[in-house]
């Protein structure tokens, strides 16, 4: 099946700093989502971005589908940004085009 790798696995920032999280995937995809999992375990959908660039406030994401990677940018980080960020994809081909496969996540800690 499709492989999803996220980097870095852990990231510690001071409040106000910027960061870039990366997601590499091994096959072409028809769906890519970035999630933030809050301390209560809820997965908050940040972006649906199988290709292109989107922005939402301090967050933006870019997916370069031809090169099989996506980037999540967090600017002016706040303590409430802390948590795990997951990238998840569904492959274009084969019988698994329904199955959202997750990377292992990036654990972000933002210190005051």
């Amino acid at each position: 099946g499709i492989q999803v790798e996220q980097s870095p696995p852990d990231l510690i920032l001071q409040e106000g700093a910027n960061s870039t999280l990366r997601c590499n995937f091994s096959d072409s995809v028809n769906n890519l989502q970035w999630f933030h999992q809050n301390p209560w375990g809820q997965l908050i959908n940040l972006f649906y971005i199988p290709s292109g660039t989107k922005q939402n406030g301090r967050l933006s994401a870019t997916t370069v589908a031809t090169e099989r990677y996506s980037l999540l940018y967090i600017s002016s980080s706040q303590t409430t940004d802390s948590g795990v960020y997951f990238c998840a994809v569904t492959p274009n081909s084969g019988g698994s085009n329904y199955k959202l496969t997750f990377g292992k996540g990036t654990l972000l800690t933002v210190n005051p």
């Binding site: 989502q33 375990g41 997965l43 959908n45 998840a88 085009n97 329904y98």
Partner: protein, 112 residues
């Protein structure tokens, strides 16, 4: 305006005692999914329904079953919970199989 609702949010059960988790949606989506997420791991798909069509993942234990009595509701039944089944259980929906997935807040299951 909750779109995917899970009840209960926390469930404590005894080893071997059957338990049922509930998911409902107001999106009128065709597809409903159940994911299991163990501590410090990524969510893993257990099964999904496309309308009434049930699709089990190959590595989902027989101990896990699901029911979808109508479009809005889907249940996860764990017939004989073991200690290893303690996890967060996440319900998700999508309009069609390869479209944007919406996740509920999850049910955290503890097995004593």
């Amino acid at each position: 305006d909750a779109m995917v609702i899970q009840n209960p949010r926390y469930q404590v059960t005894q080893f071997g005692k059957p338990v049922t988790l509930s998911c409902s949606q107001t999106l009128n989506h065709n597809v409903m999914y159940w994911y299991q997420q163990k501590s410090s791991q990524a969510p893993k798909l257990l099964f999904h329904y496309y309308d009434k069509d049930f699709n089990n993942e190959a590595d989902t234990p027989d101990n896990f079953q699901s029911r979808r009595p109508n479009t809005s509701f889907c249940f996860l039944d764990i017939r004989s919970p073991g200690l290893g089944d303690a996890a967060m259980y996440l319900c998700a929906t999508s309009r069609i199989r390869d479209s944007l997935k919406y996740f509920g807040p999850g049910t955290r299951l503890l097995v004593l």
